[in-house]
Amino acid sequence: MITRISADRLPDLLRQISELEKLYIPVDKSEKISVFEEYAPGKVMSTKLNTLRSAKDFFFPQVQPMAKFRMEGKKIEVIDSRTEAQDYCIFGVRACDVRSFDILDRVFLADPVDTYYENRRKHATIISFACSEPSETCFCHSFGIDAAKPAGDARMWMANDIIYLEGISEKGKALLEKLDLAALDAVTDEKAERDVEAEERRVHEIQQKMPLYRLTPADNREKELAIFHSPIWKELSDKCLGCGSCTFVCPTCQCFDIEDFDGGHGVERYRCWDSCMYKDFTMMAAGTPRKTQLERFRQRFMHKLVYYPIRNDGMYSCVGCGRCLRRCPIHMNIVKVMKAMEEDAQCETKN
């Protein structure tokens, strides 16, 4: 069941949702920057391809306070700062980012469940937003993601000044049902379904023209050690600056560190994003197991393309959002790695 609404009623739609629960939408802060922000009347939803940072921030923020230790003299009091989250809605998440939630779920919601993540995750309703103008840096299709038909609790298309809405999960459908769609002059009919199909076809055709269209990840699950010892890593990692920009914009990177901040009156324990590209990643008393950038660089891509699929039924830990393609200061991105792995595998077979 797909409902169509005139695109100029989008503000009303958003207002209606925001009256039900806290609503977040992507907003353009400038020509260059779009971010998810809490909706307020007057805010215009960004139609940019993607937000600068990924939507993982909602469940796995860069800094997550975990506990506090208040000190008075020599006495220490432990304060659990967790509170149950309120229901909220994230509107306008792209297909790639929606998939990233599945990937994160498999990490954070597996036993033992990460309660900080779970708390945010279970209270969220995700309304995704189909892509109408994919870019050359997009390769979500390589991971079986349909940019034109995103997953989520509900999804939305926008084509020819019309918004199409469809509930997917029970949660999503329930939210849509609470809306006063009649007030938005919404129509639910077959034309909406046909329009959406046409839009999906249009987008798929565009995707076929893209340079990365033919990019398909190899199933590397059987070749773990061979890839690990491949000479490609030396060459690729030599160029890597060891910054964490790929990690931090990546929707699926989920590594964190736990730090204590002593503010003078007590200690605040928080976890924050970490990057396997950093020298001090997983630093232990005896040092770090990955001593050079080669090992660190290899870890990141082995994890996304080999280790994760091994443990997750072949699911890759990459969604093809293209953020790292754009943000890496030296364009040493996952596509180049996938290609190098492929070439290397071909060499192997030939030999």
Binding site: F261, G263, G264, H265, E268
Partner: protein
Amino acid sequence: MQMTSDNETWEPKIIAFCCNWCSYSGADLAGTNRLNYPANVKIIRVPCSCRINPMFILRAFQRGADGVIICGCHPGDCHYMTGNYHTRRRMTLLFSMLDYLGIEKERTRVEWVSAAEGQRFVDVMDDFVGQITKLGRCRRLEDLRCRTN
């Protein structure tokens, strides 16, 4: 992170970095002469004003200081000959940068106070504390995690 309500009583916190040879002695002299100055001023002894790293100044603001003052020997009188010349350049540039970032420029200061200038030390501190009191609490470089409650 909790905001402290604004109507609580507030007293400026002033950190004064004093070089061991001139300004710290100047402060001692103020004491020897029983000259009063506000107790908000807390002195940290450093060998020379050139020992003061911008990180210390930012640290003080992070932890809730409302003003940071650096005192050293008068230019030309440095115990280490050239230390305060370095301080002069470093702090000029640092203060200018803080101003550029919109941090109130009145919150940082460098004063040259010799070992003989007990009275001057007091005058400088009176003036600085007065200035900071007028400005109120420093919020622009504060780390809320460091607040009392």
